[in-house]
């Protein structure tokens, strides 16, 4: 059948070759983009002292975008077989026929911004043997069980790793490759006292196995589960909340969505006409920087093959800019901010923030709790996808946490909601912590103090 890439390939040369061959078939007056990707991943799950499952897999595929006559079409295939490559280009071409014309459509073009060199690929992960992966998962489960006598079950203890490589080739002169490694251990455990059960999660992330800290993952999970034992439902009211770093990161990821050039142009951003205005407390600065090597989501190029770059979004509470890909930038009469995001080879590029972080403040969490005096520490939230509307700004999530009383942590609380609006929460930020923590998501965590949030309980 020919053409199928060898799974043992250690460079992206064969992927580039496939990209080149597809793009070479571009006809006159037609732009063609090929995104070719391949990844390998292993997942080991331990349960009850045994290996519950061991999965190993390789995925590969190509996405083809065609722009012709001011119309765009797309097709993908989860295989690199030669016969399917032809079919995919033909489908993308055919699909373009049915789209609406738009003079701003077009692929990215080289913009002269130098591609940063980031240390994202570690050969040590590729060489890490399967039995060591199994040992890590088993050891994690043991560590969680040993962390506290009230831990009565470990629902999941796993080691996961992934190696990915890919390239973007276009008929407009883009030709970039990238590869990276990542691994993590994660656990989800149950703590029981009397007939009450609570749960907690913990994880540790890295680019190679040496980065992983099993003890941290185990201790976090055990602490999260046991500290909620005996939790009660708080009384409804307005309080000052301190968001744990993990919760802040989730809030920032939603906020990032409102700063996408696409949301702005389509009238779906609550910040659409507010560039240059005060949108947040004066001490708040937010930056999107996928060139930061500390960010697990960093990468040398964006989803269209342009160099990643640092984009300040909010500075001293003032809204500075929106993020753009090639299309939204052209439509806005500006340049791409290198913010094209795509979910692998199966989608066309969207626009989004890639590695958000708040400028850290002066104090660690205990000091912030002391300054707050009375309030609620929110340790986890649920239902962000159902209770937060990034268009209207309405914000309501399920929450768990601990009472802050006399400046220290008090009794555990559960089954309550916290509600406000995104607009008000930004204005009501009282302090940002010094405890920036990079997490495996598109935003970094940090303790965040927000005043005047409604909690609903009894």
């Amino acid at each position: 059948m020919g053409g199928a890439a060898s799974p043992s390939s250690s460079s992206s040369l064969d992927l580039l070759d496939i990209g080149d061959r597809i793009v070479a078939r571009a006809r006159d007056g037609e732009q063609v983009e090929a995104v070719v990707g391949r990844s390998r991943h292993t997942e080991v799950r331990a349960y009850d002292g045994d290996v519950e499952s061991l999965s190993s897999a390789e995925s590969q595929g190509v996405g083809v975008r065609v722009v012709a006559g001011e119309r765009q079409g797309f097709a993908y295939a989860g295989t690199l077989d030669d016969d399917v490559l032809d079919e995919t280009l033909a489908e993308a071409r055919d699909n373009a026929e049915f789209a609406t014309t738009d003079p701003h459509l077009g692929l990215a073009e080289p913009d002269g911004v130098a591609v940063p060199t980031l240390d994202l690929f570690r050969p040590a992960l590729a060489e890490f043997p399967a039995d060591r992966k199994v040992a890590l998962a088993l050891e994690l489960e043991r560590a969680v069980r040993a962390a506290d006598p009230r831990i009565t079950g470990v629902e999941a203890a796993e080691f996961v790793d992934a190696m990915g490589e890919g390239c973007v080739v276009t008929s407009t002169g883009i030709r970039t490759t990238g590869r990276s490694t990542a691994c993590y251990v994660a656990t989800y455990c149950l703590a029981t006292e009397g007939d009450e059960t609570q749960t907690g999660f913990g994880f540790s992330v890295g680019r190679e196995p040496d980065d992983l800290d099993l003890e941290v993952a185990a201790a976090d999970a055990a602490r999260r589960a046991t500290r909620l034992l005996g939790a009660t439902k708080p009384q409804s009211g307005r309080v000052t909340v301190v968001l744990d770093p993990y919760v802040t990161a989730q809030f920032l990821a939603i906020l990032g969505g409102t700063m996408s050039g696409e949301a702005v142009q389509k009238g779906r951003s609550l910040f659409a006409d507010r560039l240059g205005e005060d949108v947040a407390a004066s001490g708040l600065s937010l930056v999107d920087d996928p060139t930061n090597p500390l960010a697990y989501t960093s990468s040398e190029t964006d989803g269209e093959g342009l160099a990643s770059r640092r984009n300040p979004l909010v500075d001293g509470g003032v809204l500075q800019r929106f993020v753009h890909n090639a299309y939204t930038a052209r439509k806005a009469g500006t340049a791409s901010t290198g913010s094209a995001v795509r979910g692998g080879f199966k989608t066309t590029p969207g626009v989004g923030c890639r590695a958000l972080s708040l400028a850290p403040g002066q104090h660690d969490q205990p000091t912030l709790l002391d300054q707050v005096g009375e309030g609620v520490l929110v340790s986890s939230v649920t239902g962000l996808h159902s209770g937060v509307n990034p268009v209207s700004g309405d914000f309501s999530t399920g929450a768990e946490g601990l009472r802050i009383s006399g400046g220290t942590l008090g009794e555990p609380l559960r089954e309550f909601t916290m509600a406000s609006t995104i607009q008000r929460m930004l204005k009501d930020v009282v302090a940002v912590g010094a405890d920036v923590e990079w997490l495996p998501m598109s935003a970094a965590g940090v303790s965040l103090v927000i005043g005047d949030v409604t909690i609903s309980g009894t």
Binding site: Y47, G78, K266, S386, S396
Partner: protein, 463 residues
């Protein structure tokens, strides 16, 4: 997809390290989606995914490998990888004789979407855009999505099973933004069924678009949602997600086995109000979660989970059923050939009761009426869940009054089940859903009659 003789050879290879069980799951899926946004057909996208996943079970350990390479050599190397991952003590050669079992698909497809011209699919989007904008001057943005997929699967295992299924699904959704003095609000409406393009004989896209527009414009005049505990009435078809989250996940045998469910050890007990009879039914013709066989080759079934408030059974996949020495229930599902199957719901719904829906509202002094719940999530170990309200109103003095802004409801599964104090005789299935569990999404359906929960916590900002 794969030749029968190749499959039995693969199963033999997979068992060579002494495994108890081996399975080949092959999939060939083609999908089309078309998106309209901002008044333009932005793109048509076509996708092709094909490959096989090979699972080998030895004792309590599962080995799994998948490949997009369906050549005999590619499949063989995946089988060897899976076998190595679940290496047992024994070994030797076993010959697998396969018996093909026919599949009864609950829904014969009338019009294969692949046979419908792309222009006809795109035209539906244009009509929806026009209809939503024509509905009200405050409609400022419209997006619409058309999607179809045809998923052909083949399952064979070392017990000699060989079966296949052909699953066609078609989906249409509309999202509207309305703008007024109070800012922007959104409304959505979607329909999806396990049918072909004949979906549009049953549903008029103009009407769907109009409903989405009405949701958005209604909310422009919405008051902040109240906060605190109060009675919540859920309209027919608008709240099946409540049962999906509040108890459905907790009845999945894999979570029960790991003590991660508040319903563990409670079979035969009264776990809900006597009004409650809950069913999970993969055979429900045309519904979003229907299929012929599940992703382990078990025929779809109708399973009663709770009857008259008494917990009758959990839902089962191959692994959990084998361990308990009982039959599978047709709930072994996976997102794709790249995933291991696990226990999943299909179409989960509450049977209708006898109350009059108007009486339920009239007998509620102060509370919230939810016409449409949004997504939700649950912690099965504690039973705590949340879900969003996409369309909701205040109930004051027994009457539905003002619309309220979006927010979450929060509650505890076992408590909510016993707090259901009214159940109407009406019933409707809800919108198509994608249920997420362990990072895998599968299509599911849900349905409810109008009902009342005596106390739920509403997570708004108003006192």
């Amino acid at each position: 997809m794969i030749d029968e003789s190749v499959i039995s050879g693969l199963l033999g290879t997979a068992l060579r390290t002494g495994a108890d069980f081996a399975e080949v799951f092959a999939e060939d899926k083609r999908s089309t989606s078309a998106v309209l946004d901002d008044g333009r057909i932005e793109e048509l996208s076509s996708g092709r995914d094909r490959g096989a996943g090979i699972r080998v079970v030895t004792g309590e350990t599962t080995g799994f490998a998948h490949t997009a390479d369906l050549s005999e050599a590619g499949l063989r190397s995946a089988a060897e990888a899976a076998a190595a991952a679940a290496a047992g003590g024994g070994g030797g050669t076993r010959v697998i004789e396969l018996t093909r079992r026919p599949t009864t698909n609950p829904t014969p497809v009338e019009v294969q979407p692949a046979d419908v011209p792309k222009a006809a699919k795109v035209e539906l989007l244009r009509r929806a855009d026009e209809a939503a904008r024509a509905r009200s001057r405050s409609v400022t943005q419209v997006s619409a999505r058309y999607g179809d997929s045809r998923r052909r699967i083949l399952v064979a295992n070392s017990d000699g099973l060989l079966t296949s299924d052909d699953q066609v699904r078609t989906l249409f959704s509309v999202g509207v933004v309305a703008t007024g003095d109070t800012g922007m609000q959104t409304g959505r409406q979607s329909v999806g069924h396990t049918v072909g393009f004949e979906l549009f004989d049953r549903y008029d896209v103009d009407e769907l678009a109009g409903r989405a527009a009405d949701r958005a414009t209604t909310k422009l005049g919405a008051r902040p949602a109240p906060s605190g505990e109060m009675p919540v009435v859920i309209g027919k078809g608008g709240g099946g997600v409540l049962f999906h989250e509040a108890c459905g996940h907790g009845l999945e045998a894999d979570l029960v086995a790991k003590s991660a469910s508040v319903f563990k050890g409670r079979r035969g007990e009264q776990v809900a109000s006597p009004l409650v009879t809950l069913v999970d039914d993969g055979t429900m013709a045309t519904e979003w979660g229907a299929f012929g066989v599940d992703d382990e080759g078990t025929p779809a079934q109708r399973n009663t989970l709770i009857e008259g408030g008494v917990l009758t059974d959990y839902m089962w996949d191959f692994l959990r059923a084998r361990k308990e020495g009982r039959a599978r229930s047709g709930n072994g599902r996976r997102q794709s050939y790249q995933h291991l199957p696990m226990v999943r719901m299909t179409n989960t719904y509450l049977l209708a009761g006898h109350d009059d829906p108007d009486d339920i509202i009239a007998s509620t002094d102060r509370g919230v009426y939810v016409a449409q719940l949004g997504g939700g999530s649950v912690n099965t170990a504690t039973g705590d869940f949340v879900f969003g309200m996409w369309e909701a109103y205040l109930i004051e003095d027994g009457e539905i009054t003002d619309p309220i802004r979006e927010g979450n409801l929060i509650g505890n599964g076992p408590k909510v089940l016993t707090d259901i104090d009214a159940l109407a005789g009406d019933f409707a299935m809800g919108s198509p859903g994608t249920c997420g569990k362990d990072g895998q999404g599968v299509p599911v359906g849900d349905g409810v009659p109008t009902l009342r929960v005596a106390r739920l916590t509403v997570g708004g900002t108003a006192a």
